[in-house]
Amino acid sequence: MSAQPKSLFEKVWDAHAVRTLANGQTQLLIGTHLIHEVTSPQAFGMLRDLGLKVAFPHRTFATVDHIVPTNELVEPYKDNLAQAMMDELRKNCAQFGVTFFDRASGKQGIVHIVGPEQGITQPGTTIACGDSHTSTHGAFGAIAFGIGTSQVRDVLATQTMALGALKVRRIEVNGKLRPGVYAKDVILHIIRLTGVNGGTGFAYEYAGSTFDGFSMEERMTVCNMSIEGGARVGYVNPDETTFAYLKGRPYSPTGAAWDAAVARWRSFASDAGCRYDDVMVIDAADIAPSVTWGINPGQGISINENIPSPETAASDDDRAGIIEALAYMKLPAGQPIKGTKINVAFLGSCTNGRLSDFQEVAKYIQGRKVAPGVRAIAVPGSQIVALQCEKLGLDKILAEAGFEWRAAGCSMCLAMNPDKLIGDELCASSSNRNFKGRQGSITGRTVLMSPVMVAAAAVTGVVADAREVFAVN
């Protein structure tokens, strides 16, 4: 008798389910807890109030990313509030025995970049972090949840949280992406299809030959933005690419334990014939370089499409959404998005702040110059990414082109540090959210796109088709 085929989600869930709570939710063990300075201080405060300690300090890892200035390395920072958050995290980690990848460690960076590069993020595990982009870690076949501060407290105090099971939607993308089309375009395409709430209640399993061929960094880019389509969790089944990435990382198992871990990790992959609550199939050839035109990540089009017009809206909701978005974005209905003037180019974030992102940009931008009047910054996702780029001279190529090369952090993705848009500046951005005011100015405008498209916008001064600008074919 063979066991019922199960999805990775079910297997990981079952392996970590502690017990059923009175309200029907599951007390779920969270194997790995990642924390940062913005959503953890209140949680530590609650622990103190309740007289509790961290239950599994060796499974909790901290770094600082949201508030760190990227052009100021010496403390105290000019921003007293940022310094206070830094001090608080340092104090909390010391007092509760938590490993802190501080700037002095050389391992600091955006929490979703640090976990994987340290080998902390592993297949078949559960991960939580007080940040909605925690879904990034699903690229390794982990089930990774973005949580609020009260749940950060729960995980600190008990290494568990109360959760209801999710449905699983398999999103299969098959075939080879066309030249100039990237993982970022894949996820923008998916969100355009589902809308920003189509994933509510689901965990996404990304699969198909396109994902099989993706590097870990490409898989992370897609999983990262699952939440932008409403899905709290997104994952890719672990395979040889996953294991090759993890081999030799600081927190990866070694020797005989490595072989045992790989065998175990492999066993978590979804079984053939397992049940999915929903399936979506996408042809990779249908995906074009994509950009957003509106105020949520679902408001996207391919670079050669026109900005939507209220008249052609599919529904009343859609019409209201278009009117609100175009008023905020100050974009003309029915006109090409291509040629829209930009003021700022931002390369970085937990979505696209990894080595391969900068490598790809450097490949095309070498010998080109950022257009006059465009402010361009490149922010590596971690100190290690920065070092990798610097070893390859990518920082110099970018600087030569006119990008400011900064220190690691979240930076202008959400502008909790000094990197902000000013007034109604329009930013070509490799980040993940184009909400009103997201990049630090209440009238600032964001157009999301892949890093190479950001580079194309930077050198032309307008939203452009990178395939034309860089003669990609």
Binding site: Q25, L29, R59, M85, T158, N197, G201, L414, G440
Partner: protein, 201 residues
């Protein structure tokens, strides 16, 4: 610690129209530079309530007739975006004790429930009905009856839905799971012991 049984929320209402109201709009990121949640209430919807120059825009929650409202009504996918608990904290600290919307983003919903803020779903037509009644009479008493799954106002009522685990947690006073989770710690140790990666290196 015993938690209150939240079976209903009674008070005046205010309607904030719009779909996909994200957590950046509920509480802009710059107000999260804090190590406590105190004081977040005044920054609720700040950038919608003020012009870039800081002049009030006449947002519904600032209208004198809606001062002291405790029931917030809105559209679809309320609370999408970031996982910041600062969003429901700001809503709570601004005095709101329940939110009625067409539906909610997942993380926001969970965060709110954990703070004892019922987030209940109603149809667009029914939300329009309640907001029209509020507009006609801002002092109207709105009763969000979580236990009975209905909202009553001025002799009328509409049906509401809510995920059963959340409803159960609210009406039975177990919306903050920490006590239950701590009770389970021996079982947690047993589960962890079966997972190689949980071992101390």
């Amino acid at each position: 610690m015993a938690l209150a049984k939240i079976t209903s929320v009674i008070g005046r209402g205010v309607y904030v129209p719009g779909n996909d109201i994200d957590t950046d709009r509920i509480i802009p990121a710059r107000f999260m530079k804090c190590v406590v949640f105190d004081g977040l209430g005044e920054f609720l919807f700040y950038d919608v309530r003020h012009t870039p120059e800081g002049v009030p825009t006449g947002h519904p929650i600032d209208k004198p007739e809606h001062k002291g409202a405790t029931v917030l009504l809105s559209g679809a996918n309320f609370g999408c975006g970031s996982s910041r608990e600062h969003a429901p904290q700001a809503i709570h600290k601004a005095g709101f004790r329940a939110v009625i919307a067409e539906n909610f983003a997942e993380i926001f919903f969970g965060n709110s429930t954990t703070l004892g803020i019922p987030c209940v779903n109603a149809t667009r037509e029914d939300i329009a009905k309640v907001s029209a009644a509020i507009e006609a009479n801002p002092a109207l008493e709105i009763i969000v009856d979580v236990a009975a799954r209905e909202v009553r106002f001025g002799g009328e009522k509409i049906a509401i839905t809510q995920r059963e685990s959340a409803r159960d947690a609210l009406v039975n006073g177990r919306w903050d799971a920490i006590g239950d989770l701590i009770d389970g710690l021996p079982a947690v140790q047993a589960t962890a012991a079966g997972l190689p990666y949980m071992a101390v290196a």
